[in-house]
């Protein structure tokens, strides 16, 4: 099972803070994004248009990254820490 976390504006779009997906062994981050897209096309579009970054176990990785059971994936909208 893969844990997916949503932050900031994406929580509103997802309607939740966290999701769980069961994927076949050897699935990539791209496979996960397609699964997310099926449940929430708006989120899928944002990922496709690279409006969100994606981390796996706290590091930003590329779409061909292979996922393992219990991996924590996070969808991260553009950061806005610090001050203007």
């Amino acid at each position: 099972m893969i844990i997916v976390k949503y932050f900031a504006s994406l929580k509103n779009i997802a309607g939740k803070e966290e999701d769980h997906f069961d994927l076949a062994k050897g699935s990539s981050l791209l496979d996960l994004c397609q699964a997310i897209s099926k449940t929430n096309p708006q989120l899928g579009k944002m990922v496709h248009e690279k409006k969100v970054m994606i981390s796996v176990n706290l590091d930003v990785v590329s779409m061909d990254h292979i996922l393992n059971d219990d991996d924590e994936v996070a969808l991260l909208p553009p950061f806005s820490g610090g001050t203007q």
């Binding site: 909208p77 950061f79 806005s80 820490g81 203007q84």
Partner: protein, 145 residues
């Protein structure tokens, strides 16, 4: 001085005291000669709108990890003696402290460079998000620097 000051990289709800953070970093070496700090505070105006409050959210563990990366790179690449980085989360009123970066060097030049680099890098790579509350509602700020 609180226990919390022992960690040089922190994300916390409570306010921080700039003097306490400076005194903590001074203890690292008697060869510190220049300390540059950046303090970000809540501004009343943002793109022509009047802000009543700010709210910050972070991705726990990842945000702290990124701040520690920034601290380590600042020390190694800019040859400063030490750096501390503190970012508040939760509700922030106008005028309140949001973020503090303290760069301590032997001389001022490297401390200025490291401090300015660190706040830009914080904005670029640290998973922290700001929600602004204005008279017209609440909005997550999405512009990257």
């Amino acid at each position: 001085m609180s226990q919390a000051l022992e960690s040089k990289v922190r994300i916390q709800i409570e306010n921080f005291d700039v003097s306490d953070e400076i005194e903590a970093i001074k203890k690292v070496s008697p060869n510190i000669g220049g300390i540059v700090t950046f303090l970000g505070t809540g501004r009343e105006q943002s793109k022509g709108e009047t802000i009543s409050e700010l709210n910050f959210e972070h991705y726990p563990q990842m945000a702290e990890k990124k701040l520690e990366e920034i601290r380590q790179r600042a020390i190694e690449e800019y040859k400063i003696i030490d750096m501390s980085i503190i970012h508040r989360i939760g509700k922030i009123d106008i005028g309140e402290n949001i973020v503090l970066i303290v760069a301590a060097g032997e001389h001022r030049k490297e401390a200025f460079i490291a401090c300015e680099w660190a706040i830009a890098e914080l904005k670029r790579i640290t998973p922290i998000w700001k929600r602004e509350t204005t008279t017209t509602g609440e909005v997550w700020v999405q512009d990257t620097p």
